[in-house]
């Protein structure tokens, strides 16, 4: 029983790490970054669902639904910002997104 749970958790962790490394190692594209962000959110969702299943608690699944909604909204906003950013800068390459530097 416990081993099963850990296998599921391993999958979700792997998914999360893939998303994380997608953010950290990606030097090309902001779209890619958004996608890996989605991936991380999905991994978290997956976690919620796994635990709600194993603990027999429906709240986790409801929470996952909420997260999905929020993620959709957030990615919509992100894409919108990206679009405007592209219009202004003419590129979506990360190498040139260093406006944060003081």
């Amino acid at each position: 029983m416990l081993t099963d749970q850990s296998k599921f958790l391993l999958v979700s962790t792997l998914l999360f790490l893939i998303g994380l490394s997608g953010i950290m190692l990606n030097r090309k594209n902001i779209v890619l970054m958004l996608m890996s962000l989605e991936l991380m959110l999905l991994a978290i969702n997956f976690n919620f669902i796994i635990f709600s299943f194993f603990l027999d608690d429906i709240v986790g699944q409801i929470f996952a639904l909420f997260v999905l909604t929020v993620a959709a909204a957030e990615s919509a906003i992100g894409l919108a910002i990206l679009l405007i950013y592209y219009r202004i800068r003419g590129t979506v390459s990360i190498d040139f997104v260093n406006l944060l530097k003081g």
Partner: protein, 664 residues
């Protein structure tokens, strides 16, 4: 009275130093003379009360350092030793003050000069009257400081600067010895008070100090270190080279500090610590040996010097040697008696020389003098008295102490006694040789100076003349009048201030030596004087001829006139080594290297460096920020886990500090 005796000179210093401008040079001169005169009067009174009436005075004025066991207080002790030396110091100081009001009257810095010599008098009195080693050390360092300031008085002269530095540095060696000795005393006795230390010395005879694989007898060690101090201050061979160079200072300074008082501080230290020295047989032996060698050594150099003041300086060295070896032979009272006598006639010699130099407009080379008998008859007389007293001509001051020193050295009946006696007697010949040489070359020979200066020569003004007369009086009568008081057989004058182990007492033996031994110094004086006159008056041309033609003779002359090449040896072997290592190791490697690197500039540089490193973190790259966030999350989360695990073993604050350190 006893306190004001010490503090009058420092009042004089303060007035002259800080109010000198408003008081005018003449005002400061009168004021400082007046203050020193008061001090002198009180010293006479205290001499009467303490010395004659035998009531030593102890004054605990105020605690200075009071920390657990270590207590050094402003405590003063007036015993026979203090008052007899104090009498010398204040009287010579008064006379020199009077002298310098005239001698320095053309100097724009006269106020400064008067203030310095007053300060010197204060420190000297402090040194004499202290009742613990720390206060003695304060006085010791203070007189060293004043010596430096006064040698360097004409500070624009390079030679004066160099001499002053030399005096300071060479004296540091001796001071180190004294300081270490005091530290040893404190280590053993846990006190620096004279009374306690001296009374406990017999119990410390068998104590050993284990240090760096060596076992030192503690009394021997302390005595040795004190003697190193005395060697530095009293210009014994080895650390003597600063004294002749100190003649760069004004002549009154040479008279007061480098002849009469300060240089005798080393002898005073030995006499003051006689209860310690008496228990150290080996160091006493060493002292006597060293003093005798110094006597002979500086005498031989003095013969071959051409500078008027340098000759007298070397004779000072030589006389100091007499005093020191008298101490080494456990005849402290004789030594102190010689200190007193020597103070007067040597001050007289120096002041007369100053008068000559003053008259010749700062000409110091004896070869350019001559024939001054006609121009300066009065100075000639005083110089003559001073020289005769120095030579130990019977019934002048020097005779009473010098002959006694030679007699006691003869009556020691050991290797040491014979050795010191021989060197002492030979030095008598040398002393009278160069004294007559001085008199002859300066006053009696045909004039060798420039015509221009010869016209301007004039006799000493009233102030200088007065001080010369006073000193001459002392030089003639002091020894005769006070002989029985100071060194008379069984005199009770010293009551407890000097301690001599009964087995070392030999002043009685000296009464029973053969009569021809007693006459020997007198004959030696005659021989020296006559040979000097004969050589310089009749055989001058022959001497010069020999010097030109005989290479060996020239080499001998060179050997002595270059001070036995001892200065050269010192410079090449010791000084250059220390100078180089001081520059390359302590200065370049430690001061400018390690301390700078790990100290202030290192810190400021590392702050800049680290902040640059930190600012590189804000690269502006999103993925890098993401990476940082991730790393920090991992560290925080895991540390929280670890905190839960190690909570019972490790202080959380410590852990926080540790993590901070890791991050940095």
């Amino acid at each position: 009275m006893y306190l004001s005796l010490i503090f009058f000179p420092i009042l004089s210093f303060l007035f002259c130093m800080f109010l000198g401008r408003s008081l005018s040079p003449k005002g400061t001169a009168i004021l400082s003379c007046l203050f020193i005169f008061f001090s002198f009067l009180e010293c006479i009174l205290s001499f009467f009360e303490v010395g004659i009436c035998k009531s030593p005075v102890f004054i605990k004025l105020y605690p200075w350092v009071d920390s657990e066991l270590f207590d050094a207080s402003w405590g003063f002790l007036f015993d026979s030793l203090t008052v007899s030396m104090g009498f010398l110091v204040t009287s010579v100081s008064l006379i020199v003050h009077i002298y310098s009001t005239v001698y320095m009257s053309h100097d724009p810095h006269q106020c400064r000069f008067m203030s310095y010599i007053s300060l010197f008098t204060f420190f000297m009195l402090l040194l004499l009257s202290s009742d613990n080693f720390i206060l003695l050390f304060l006085g010791w360092e203070g007189v060293g400081l004043c010596s430096y300031l006064l040698i360097n008085f004409w500070f624009t002269r390079l030679q004066a600067n160099k001499s002053a530095l030399k005096a300071m540095v060479v004296n540091r060696v001796g001071d180190l010895g004294l300081a270490l000795g005091i530290a040893c005393i404190f280590l053993i006795f846990k006190t620096v008070d004279f009374a306690i230390v001296f009374s406990l010395i017999p119990y410390a005879c068998n104590l050993k100090l284990f240090f760096l694989f060596f076992n030192f007898g503690i009394v021997d060690l302390v005595c040795f270190l004190f003697f190193v101090g005395a060697v530095g201050k009293s210009a014994q061979i080895g650390l003597h080279s600063w004294l002749p160079d100190a003649m760069e200072g004004p002549t009154p300074v040479s008279a007061l500090i480098h002849a009469a008082t300060m240089v005798t501080a080393g002898v005073f230290l030995i006499v003051r610590c006689s209860p310690i020295f008496e228990y150290s047989q080996s160091i006493l032996f060493f002292i006597a040996l060293w003093g005798a060698i110094t006597t002979f050594f500086s005498g031989t150099i003095g013969v071959f010097q051409n500078d008027l003041k340098k000759v007298i300086a070397y004779s000072t060295c030589s006389q100091l040697g007499y005093m020191v070896f008298a101490c080494g032979l456990s005849n402290y009272s004789v030594s102190i008696f010689h200190v007193l006598n020597h103070g007067y006639f040597k001050a007289l010699l120096f002041l007369s020389a100053g008068s000559v130099i003053h008259a010749l407009h700062n000409e110091q080379d004896m070869r350019k003098m001559g024939g001054l008998l006609q121009a300066l008859p009065f100075t000639y007389v005083t110089f003559f008295i001073g020289s005769f007293a120095l030579m130990g001509v019977p019934f002048l001051t020097g005779f009473y102490s010098k002959d006694v020193i030679l007699e006691i050295s003869y009556s020691k009946y050991s290797f040491l006694g014979t050795f010191t006696n021989w060197l002492g007697v030979v030095s008598v010949v040398i002393t009278s040789f160069y004294s007559f040489k001085l008199i002859y070359l300066v006053f009696l020979s045909s004039p060798n100076g420039f015509k221009r200066t010869s016209f301007l020569v004039s006799e000493a003004p009233f102030g200088m003349g007065l001080s010369l007369v006073l000193l001459s009086t002392f030089s003639i009568f002091f020894g005769f009048l006070t002989k029985d008081l100071f060194i008379g057989l069984g005199t009770p004058f010293w009551n407890n201030s000097i301690f001599i182990l009964p087995s070392h007492l030999n002043i009685i033996d000296s009464e029973f030596i053969p009569i021809y031994i007693k006459w020997l110094p007198f004959y030696c004086t005659l021989i020296g004087g006559i040979s000097s006159i004969v050589l310089y008056h009749m055989l001058t041309n022959n001497l010069f001829f020999c010097y030109l033609n005989n290479v060996n003779l020239r080499l001998i002359y060179l050997f002595f006139s270059k001070k036995w090449f001892l200065d050269r040896l010192q410079n090449d072997l010791i000084v250059s080594f220390f100078l180089n290592s001081g520059y390359s190791i302590t200065y370049k490697l430690i001061d400018k290297g390690l301390i700078e690197f790990y100290g202030p500039s290192g810190y400021s540089k590392s702050v800049v460096f680290l902040s640059k490193l930190l600012s590189r973190l804000t690269s502006g790259k999103i993925n890098f920020y993401a990476f940082l966030i991730f790393v920090f999350l991992v560290v925080t989360v895991s540390s929280v886990c670890f905190v839960n695990v190690f909570y019972f073993f490790v202080e959380p604050q410590l852990l926080f500090v540790f993590i901070l350190c890791l991050i940095i």
